[in-house]
Amino acid sequence: MADERVSAVQLLTPEGQRVAHPEYDINLTDAELRGLYRDMVLVRRIDTEATALQRQGELGLWAPCLGQEAAQVGSARAMAPNDFAFPTFREHGVTWCRGVAALDMLAILRGISNGGWDPSLHRCGPYSIVIGAQVLHGVGYAMGVQFDGAEDVAVTYFGDGAMAQGDVNEAFVFAASFSAPVVFFCQNNQWAISQPSDRQGNIQLYERANGFGFPGVQVDGNDVLAVLAVTKVALERARSGNGPTLIEAYTYRMGAHTTSDDPTRYRLAGELETWRLRDPIERLKAYLARQGIADRSYFDQIEQEGEKLAEQIRDGVRAMVPPKPESMFDDVYSEPHARIDEQRAEMLEYLASFEDAGG
């Protein structure tokens, strides 16, 4: 990492060596450290299972988070229960940490829902597909927290590509203007589909925060400890009324953009090899093993837990049936709506005409 991005905060080297940083540190119990490992392994298992299910035609699409587990788990585990996450479609590690059931994450990709869960239940918004939109939502939520005199923080997730989007830049302006309690968590995974991150601007992403009037910090996004430490500081800063922080988690999209994408058309295989050596799970595993915090039997146990989870996902996804066609008229409005009722009735009558013909 040092070769490319000297400014990135790191507490755990790719080899799993604990290193000190002048500004950031973290002290976790052994159980907490094992918990981070478990989260990352299970998230990766969900991710690989979903990718496989897409290949088998059980899911319409999947956007893998492979390689970004530390950035997602580290930041989400830094959050307090009442903080609120605003994720994109790739943040399976975040939704996992917010307690969203794996099958609920898959419902959208199964094509049976456009939402998947109740945001207030998990304090986690829906997967945002329109790039950048949720970042403004996060700022507005944080403004509401501030108006309420509460101490919650909104954490908005987005990618390096989103840094170009108007909504994201407006979100920065609004957050600065209101000193809103929000953390901007940008995963710079180097790619926005086929476009390298430098297409979105010519300075490092975290440096842009300065121009908007709040601090920006770059963290080694494959180092779960550093991500956790940096996010905790940003959350505390927001909680204590000091406004937003932009965190750039420097990481890598190890998979395709989505299962529809073919990255061999635009990036070199060597890049992937380089990043494999920085794998977020391997480095924590090495640290845990070296420190005697976890041993082979623990790692095996987590792997088995992952297999069980994968099995539940396989069975669960196959059992997910499409909703009734007329459900598309539900919840379009919260108040009665004559036009909707009329069209629902038309559809039901039309569908019944086939049953009559058939029976």
């Binding site: 319409g60 829902s113 597909i129 329109v130 989103a162 476009q195 297409r199 058309r265 069209q343």
Partner: protein, 328 residues
């Protein structure tokens, strides 16, 4: 003649337009090395260079807004919006700037911008990837709206859209992207003139009982309906241009058949079909034997993909409407 998919046909049309005019630029997300997520611009950056096929930063308002300036500087930008549902961040620049500039400047500045948008459903996609927003644009004065229905019409009309000095919103029916058809690549759209006027509707199947007006993805659906309708003779009209609509062709057809069904994927209310129904009501009041009837998507946000088949008009719904208008 070559047998091409619509993707390849548009690619060939873009290539022709770029060869003809060095001021034609392609601009959009992932259109360079990747060739676009649908591969419509495949190989064009390699052949024309990075200064003519540009990967844009991820910002639709930026793409459209800078195209206005490029046009003022004498360029002819051809923009790609990656999916229908992602045009909205650029909507303000399209309706407030692109559409109005020429009028505001008393004709001193042209906006020869083409905005390509893959649209429509039927490909099992996630939310925001299956929308039919054409009515917003057809409603906006200053914009022209075109949509091809097969490889040959795509090959020609994309070239005509680019050479047009007005802004053209060019809707590509993504579920027909992989349909194949014969394309005469020796034809240059410009030499054809009135023979292939993109602003004229095309009677793609002649018939005598009911006129079926449709466009884009629904043309194939309506042709299939016409093929299986044994006791009703359907005349299928591919509108091709949604702004302005060629009422001359449509009215002449309705005068022959006395019945009109309009079919589109977009939601019913305030859709293109509503405008057509009103106009045909005005122009063919004495000839009509039945009310103009619409077959359209419902007035709901595009549903989850596993039930989209119930949202989208299909062959049966077209036939059902044809039977209903015959019942009067």
């Amino acid at each position: 003649m070559t047998n091409l998919t619509m993707v390849k046909a548009i690619n060939a049309g873009l290539r022709k337009a770029m060869e003809r005019d060095p001021k034609v630029l392609l601009f959009g997300e992932d259109i360079g090395r990747l060739g676009g997520v649908f591969r419509v611009t495949d190989g064009l950056q390699k052949d024309f260079g990075e200064h003519r096929v540009l990967d844009a930063p991820l910002a639709e308002s930026g793409i459209v807004g800078t195209a206005v300036g490029l046009a003022m500087r004498g360029y002819r930008p051809v923009l790609e919006i990656q999916f229908d549902g992602f045009v909205y961040p650029g909507f303000d620049q399209i309706v407030s700037q692109v559409a109005k500039f020429h009028r505001r400047m008393d004709g001193a500045v042209a906006m020869p911008i083409t905005i390509r948008i893959p649209y429509g459903g039927g490909i099992g996609a996630v939310e925001h990837h299956s929308e039919s927003p054409e009515a917003y644009f057809a409603h906006t004065a200053g914009l022209r709206v075109l949509t091809p229905s097969d490889p040959q019409s795509a090959y020609l009309t994309i070239q005509q859209a680019i050479t047009c000095n007005d802004p053209v919103i060019y809707f590509e029916p993504k579920r027909r992207y992989w349909d194949k058809g014969e394309v005469d690549e020796s034809q240059s759209a410009l030499d054809l003139g009135a023979v292939a006027d993109p602003w004229r509707a095309r009677i793609v199947k002649a018939g005598s009982d009911v006129t079926v007006a449709c466009y884009g993805p629904m043309v194939r659906t309506c042709l299939e309906a016409a093929a299986v309708a044994t006791d009703i003779s359907l005349e299928v009209v591919d509108l091709q241009a949604l702004a302005p609509i060629d009422y001359e062709t449509l009215v002449a057809s309705v005068q022959r058949t006395s019945r009109l069904v309009v079919v589109h994927e977009a939601a019913l209310s305030g859709g293109v079909g509503a405008e057509i129904a009103a106009r045909i009501g005005e122009k063919c009041f004495y000839e009509l034997e039945a009310p103009v009837t619409r077959v359209a998507g419902f007035d709901v946000p595009y549903p989850a993909s596993r039930i989209e088949e119930h949202f989208l008009p299909d062959l049966n719904r077209v036939l059902d409407a044809a039977e209903r208008v015959m019942g009067y």
